[in-house]
Symmetry: C2
Subunit: 971 residues, 2 copies
């Protein structure tokens, strides 16, 4: 049996008594069919399904008079759907005349809508057909067969949606230009996007806009309700009214009064809230409860005690509950309500020894407690086992966009899918399953992570905890859905999205400046420039192909712009870092980078112009957020890089500098700035580089006048013209001494004699076979070298995991494509109480490494910037060196955050540094003997994500860097 | 009786048996006469004075057979001159035929020479006639009368001369270009300069040159001896041989061996020294004794003890004494010898508890101990009372040029005459009267201070301690001597020399960088730019006049170049500071200053080119030392300012900044960067300034939207075009509140609201009459202001001095034109042991000031960067607040240097900071009640020079600055 969309019976039949919203969606699906097949489908209404002549039949159980008949035709019992949330049956059925039909029966309005949009999915129509101009691949027809028949599951999370926020200047400018404001015309596109993504929930824009007034009038709210979108106001706007609305209606001479303070203006606020509930209570909502200060601030002054705040909130919520009973329903539990445990409200929820918090307050029982991340995509506290199943359930307010400390971010997508998977998975497993809402800022730059967030919420079984490869798999899948038919480009687009999200997530573009990646140490700048260069070249190549195709606008918005604009910003900051670094060395080559900074500034404008020209100007006004030298939430105090210009010396001058070392000299050996090259002490680094630059006047001849015989140089003399730079590659030749040692060569250039020390190790055969060798400096340089870049990094993916035959037993799992270093290890189950697991049953992670000499070493444990999930946790692990087994007494508890750590608190510098640097770092010092060692980690607190182990000599300070140990250097 | 030079009897008559050197000088004086009067004088020789027909007669007692006859004609007894050092009688006498003659009789060769050059002095011929092209004013004739008759005194100091040093690239390039090397042709000019200045002593150049080989051959040494110049080798070149000479002759296969080490190569070094003494011993020398390492370094390694070093030196000196006996004279005391107590040798001289130093070693008795300054013109230790009159006497090695730590200086004169007067006076009064030698580097830039140094050494009675106005008087006098006849210009030239030497001495040009003078705080940059601007304008005006006159070359070298080049360098560093400061504030006006930096770089080249063109290229090659961004002793690692370029914001942007405050804002009030203007709290500051700059795109309208009624603004609205800056002058209007208070005004510019706080005081009539009012900040700003620029400075010249009827009693005296702040106070006698003076007889200095509120105050005592003159001194003074009398028990001892202070030691940071900053600073904190206070200072250790008292609120950190409290701000 098959039904061929586009050829058979071109109609969509609905019951006359079907929800008007379903009828509207049916028309949109007809539009999708036309878009793909050019076939014109008619939406017809009927009072019965008796004339079952073929085409698409859809009905909502309990609403449409066709529903039962259609279920019968499918042979599906009513019980299969009755009482279910948002489910639908989807079945190809033979018609009365022997033809075929597609039957869709929804358990409720959104069930039917999702069923209808399932057709669009099968046709290859992306949810982003409007919002990113993803035009589907043309097809003559699409055949549906028995293989497509199914009855959908209830969605994993009850309310699933997003929050349009921080919408000026970008989204706001756009909607005013194209829709005259935040009107229903615009919101219809937003609602459609939500439904196509099988979401059901929205927090609307609220910066100088009022969802319930701007429709015009109630048109926005009415349309949402019609289409099945459940509305809330944001977390600090109670009782279905916007904070902006308060400014419009308050006044000493009004019934609302002027003070946003329940102690001073109780009557006025009750009137204000009652009117809101009366006005919007008839629609489907989740009512925001409680009260914060105006515009996202604390409600009581600094002098108020915790108890004062708790009592105040209790009073407010009690009154609000009563108002809801009065205006919407006596059955409070039938009215979805939520209280956001955001920022300072967390304190009022948990309380302390002086004041019991709201946590156990009965009046809160039926209200969904909306927990929050730390605004940087890391969970704060999560429900504990005993409270997982509280009556009102739990929600999560998550962020892909944020305005606040320590940095705001919004301009472009800077979210790594794997972090979302890991953190939202942690939440889901802890019982957060009632509301998932994510702040998407201007919406437009967040197409990719939003898609993932919505799919994860809809089908956690598929994309959630059980699927460790979820993020990677999803990204591949998403590329194929948006660029269907462009098989040749899939791999490249995947690589581009993977790379730019990696780059943007390890340091948000808004938090970049010229001092983040070191211009020379570890080759960081060179490595990041390589990443940028490869991505931009690939994007340009693809753009040359796409720009002639219908998918050009989608490609520009989803790939080309975010890749090129992100990389351009990165390059600009790298160039600025190099410009300042070279200028600090008095090198005229700094001026070349000064020019490149200006080119990046121009390129940024050009890329934005290209965006505005997409789809004949459809997006004019969007993507206008400040991002160059960003500091706050808007352009105030933002600053572009300052260009440093070197005036070349008027005398002969040569500057000699390590390409990967900040040591340099502008004078002869008597100035005592010898250059020390250390890379050849590492078994994986095969060359060093030295730069000679003519920073003065006249040609400069240079010549190597002395050189230890084991040092091999790519050149031994040369002539530098004014401003020129020669690069000398330094490798080890023959006749290497034993062990780790130092040698020297001397360059005579102009009148200077420059001494270059080369540290190296002669690796024995045994050592050469060692994967994890800790490189060390020769003792002879310790006297004049204070810092070292030599260290061994072991990435999580290189650690050895314990195995257990019991697949249900606690275990470490490796998450690929995660965090700063490409992989991570996390103990599962994610909310396991490991203190109750016997030591012999604990899973373990082991890193093995070889130390070439006895001494004191630093062991550095790099973890993801997660927060303790309970008030007791310090994100501890257990660690031991060379333990016999997991029961070894040598295991000691290691805290990965400080005792004063407070996740999400702007006043906690450790947290702020963590979210900016995208890692936590714990440093231990241990004496190690020469030879092999095993460093073994066991889980202690849940939620610790291990990214990297670093082992280095403790005698030397660590050189500045952001990544440390870049591939470009071979270590 | 008068003798008219230029008209009467045009001859200079000498004895046939006169010193050949005197004959050569007579010819030079004849040349001077011609230069002034055009009259051709003949130098004739005679065997007797019997044909006493008229003209000039000169003879040396004990040498010329004319001497006694001439003395008789003058009626002067032989005893008047016999046995005297360098004296001469100078007398107009009637001739046998009734005409007139000028008779000069010298007590010795140099006496006669000085007498002859006294004619040149009277003719107005400057010593700088060759070395600075100071051509004298033309006159028909010069009449000498009885009034000119006199017998000169013995010079105050026995050996008086200078050291040509650090002579590459400047002096070296010049002499090679014009004289083919360091030849006798060139040295003849140097010797002549010394004699014209009535000096007698020289340390010759010794960088790649050998005085005794380069003449060619011995010609230099022979000419020096002929002309009466006493030679030494420099302080680390013993036995009349140069350190460069050692490199030429040493060798394993020579009799000298190779090691510059008396333990390892005793025989070789003895041979080397003996040969030197034999070769040059026949000339007049002061033999350098002892031994240091090669090229001005320590002789023994780090492992040697103090005793080792002392023993080594004793051995060396004993051997050298014996060699002198062997080669020059058995009568050791007849051979002038000196040992330089330089750098590390000071330790060997004084010894410590572990080892007795050379100080009391009999073998040293007849050797002059050459003490040294700290290389920055401040005395190190001086002789104590008991050793003042030691047999060998004392010398002083002083510096107008130095290569070494913490900074080298040489390019241009950076010496303040008053410091020389004060410090060399201290030395003279302590018994340092046998040798005065000053390092003049390339000689050429040091014309002025060298003249003063030589005159001070020749006639201490006139220019020394007794004449407190010496430096000022000398400078006026010197201007008139060099620019005789240009009466209209005297005052301007004086002001120019006074200003540039002030500017260069308070921070040596080589030690300037863009971070010294604060670009806004205290208005320092504005003040220094004003000084520069006034000087350069004046110099240009004068140049326009001089460039058409014969004195143009002299004016260029002595005035125009040092003024303009110094000011240009200063301006460049100020511009760089402002460039960086404005760039840090994101202000495009930074770019204007970037352009000015480049203009200064070009101007520097142009000024040097002008120097090379002086006197038809006579000075080509000189003044070529590096000076822009100087770091070491040569151009290595020197760096020109890095130019910072601001890319203007692409959005509307206004930057508001205080003109005299580093507070600024680039955003609205929510960014919490309010601007605080504090100047109006000071009774002497009458305005504040605020800058508004358009740092973005499009015109920006600004408007004052709120303003406290007592604040008066020079404008209340305006429109800024892109890149434009408006300056708002802020003053107090009417209706001032009482006391010290704060007010506010608000500017709306673009979309920003900027808050400006203005602190002010309403001065009562009583307060307005108070000279020394300590300005304080209002309490209300303490919460958000951490630093303050408010303070009261009392200069030394404003202090009240105690008076004593006994003019011989110890007293404080004010030295004008001294140090960083224009005046200083020093207790006299300069080497008085104040501990032996009864308290009631101690002189006192008192500063009175008014404190407007009770509180904690910082009292800052600024003193000159002098060094303790004995091992016990910590340069202490006694200080009390509101004492009844000098015997008050409240006086406490205050040390003006730290307990670990070591003058002249590169390893002592306090010393290094002192010589760079040109001051010492001592900070005390005291509680003071509201009202008047007297701060009284008494002397304790000798040698303390008090420059400034600063009183400020202790609650606020002091803002960065170099001068603090500049006139430009009115405080």
């Amino acid at each position: 049996m098959e039904y061929i969309i586009g050829s058979d019976n071109r109609q969509i039949v609905l019951g006359e008594d079907e929800w008007s919203g379903v009828k509207k969606i049916a028309a949109k699906v007809a539009g999708d069919i036309k878009l793909v097949t050019d076939a014109e489908y008619k939406v017809t209404e009927s009072t019965s399904a008796s004339d079952f002549s073929g085409g698409v039949y859809a009905a909502t159980l309990g609403k449409s008079s066709l529903a039962k008949e259609l279920l019968d035709k499918c042979g599906i019992s009513e019980d299969t759907l009755a009482g279910k949330r948002e489910c639908y049956a989807f079945q190809v059925v033979e018609t009365v005349n022997g033809g075929s039909a597609l039957v869709i029966v929804g358990s409720d309005k959104r069930g039917t809508i999702y069923g209808l949009f399932h057709i669009s999915d099968l046709l290859g129509v992306s949810p982003w057909v409007y919002f990113a101009d993803v035009c589907p691949k043309k097809r003559d027809s699409v055949a549906l067969t028995d293989a497509d028949n199914f009855v959908s599951k209830e969605p994993s999370v009850k309310y699933r949606g997003f929050f349009i926020n921080d919408e000026w200047p970008s989204f706001g400018t756009w909607t005013f230009k194209h829709f005259g404001g935040f009107t229903a015309q615009m919101y219809e596109h937003v609602f459609e996007l939500i439904l196509r993504m099988k979401g059901n929930y929205l927090w609307p824009a609220m910066w100088t806009s009022n969802f319930s007034l701007d429709g015009p009038g109630l048109a926005n709210a009415e349309l949402a309700d019609e289409l099945g979108i459940v509305m809330s106001n944001s977390h600090h706007e109670p009782c279905l009214r916007h904070s902006e609305e308060w400014d419009l209606v308050k006044g000493d001479d009004t019934k609302y009064g002027s003070a946003w303070n329940f102690s001073k203006n109780r009557e006025g606020l009750i009137n204000y809230w009652r009117d809101g509930l009366s006005r919007n209570g008839k629609f489907e909502n989740v009512v925001t409860m409680g009260m914060r200060g105006e515009r996202d601030s604390e409600v009581l002054g600094r002098e108020a005690t915790l108890q004062d705040n708790i009592d105040y909130l209790k009073d407010v919520i009690t009154v609000q509950n009563n108002l809801i009973k009065e205006t919407i329903s006596e059955d409070l539990d039938s009215v979805p309500r939520m209280l956001a445990i955001y920022k300072e409200v967390e304190k009022y929820f948990y309380g302390d020894e002086t004041a019991e918090g709201l946590r156990y307050w009965p009046e809160l029982d039926g209200i969904t407690c909306m927990l929050c991340d730390d605004n940087f995509a890391n969970m704060r506290k999560l429900p504990e086992e005993f409270e997982k199943d509280r009556r009102g359930g739990w929600g999560m307010y998550y962020h892909f966009d944020y305005h606040g400390d320590p940095i705001s971010y919004e301009w472009v997508n800077s979210t790594h899918l794997s972090r979302v998977w890991e953190q939202m998975g942690q939440a889901y497993e802890s019982g957060v399953r009632d509301i998932w809402i994510v702040n998407v800022g201007d919406l437009k730059p967040q197409e990719l992570p939003l898609s993932f967030f919505m799919d994860l919420a809809y089908d956690f079984d598929k994309w959630g905890t059980s699927n460790t490869d979820s993020a990677t798999e999803y990204l591949r899948n998403w590329v194929e859905r948006q660029f269907a038919g462009c098989e040749d480009a899939y791999e490249d687009i995947y690589a581009l999205l993977d790379t730019y999200t990696y780059v943007n997530s390890i340091r948000r573009p808004e938090a970049l400046n010229e001092r983040i990646y070191h211009p020379v140490n570890y080759g960081e700048a060179e490595y990041m420039l390589q990443l940028a260069d490869i991505s931009v070249s690939k994007a340009e190549d693809l753009w040359d192909k796409f720009k002639e195709t219908p998918l050009k606008d989608a490609f520009y918005q989803l790939v080309y712009f975010p890749v090129c604009a992100s990389m351009n910003l990165l390059e600009m900051q790298l160039f600025a870092g190099i410009n300042h670094h070279l200028a600090g060395q008095g090198r005229p080559s700094a001026n070349i980078y000064g020019g490149l900074i200006n080119e990046c500034m121009d390129r940024d404008l050009e890329l934005q112009k290209g965006y505005y020209e997409c789809a004949d100007g459809k997006w004019d006004g969007i993507m206008g957020s400040e991002h160059m030298g960003f500091v706050h939430w808007n352009d105030e105090e933002a600053r572009y890089p300052v260009v440093h210009t070197v005036i070349p010396s008027r005398r002969p001058r040569v500057v000699v500098a390590g390409s990967y070392s900040d040591s340099y000299t502008m004078g002869g050996d008597w100035t005592r700035h010898p250059i020390v090259l250390t890379g050849l002490c590492s078994p994986t680094c095969f060359f060093e580089k030295l730069e000679l630059e003519n920073a003065g006047t006249g040609d400069i001849e240079w010549k190597v006048t002395e050189c230890d015989e084991w040092i091999s140089l790519s050149a031994s003399e040369g002539v530098l013209k004014e401003g020129d730079t020669d690069i000398l590659v330094v490798t080890t030749g023959d006749n290497l001494p034993e062990g780790t040692f130092v040698g020297k060569f001397v360059i005579k250039a102009a009148m200077y004699k420059v001494e270059v020390y080369v540290c190296a190790r002669n690796f024995t055969e045994e050592e050469a076979a060692i994967d994890h060798f800790v490189p060390v400096l020769p003792d002879e340089v310790a006297a004049f070298v204070k810092e070292s870049d030599l260290e061994l990094s072991i990435e999580a993916g290189e650690l050895e995991l314990s195995e257990d035959e019991d697949t249900q037993a606690p275990s470490y799992r490796i998450i690929d494509n995660y965090g700063k270093y490409g992989s991570a290890a996390k103990a599962f189950p994610v909310n396991c109480d490991f203190s109750k697991v016997a030591a012999e049953d604990l899973p373990s992670l082991t890193g093995s490494f070889y130390v070439p000499k006895d001494g004191k070493y630093e062991i550095r444990l790099i973890t993801a910037p997660c927060n303790p999930l309970s008030t007791e946790s310090l994100l501890r692990v257990k660690m031991a060196i060379d333990p016999e087994s997991t029961t070894d007494a040598a295991f000691e508890s290691v805290t990965t955050v400080g005792a004063d750590y407070q996740g999400g608190e702007r006043t906690c510098p450790e947290w702020a540094k963590g979210v900016l640097d995208n890692q936590h770092e714990t440093v231990l010092t241990r004496n190690l003997s020469k030879g092999w060692h095993d460093l073994t980690i066991l889980p202690q607190d849940p939620g610790v994500v291990i990214e990297r182990l670093v082992i280095r000599e403790a005698a030397f300070a660590r050189k500045d860097g952001y990544l440390h140990n870049c591939p470009v250097r071979g270590f």
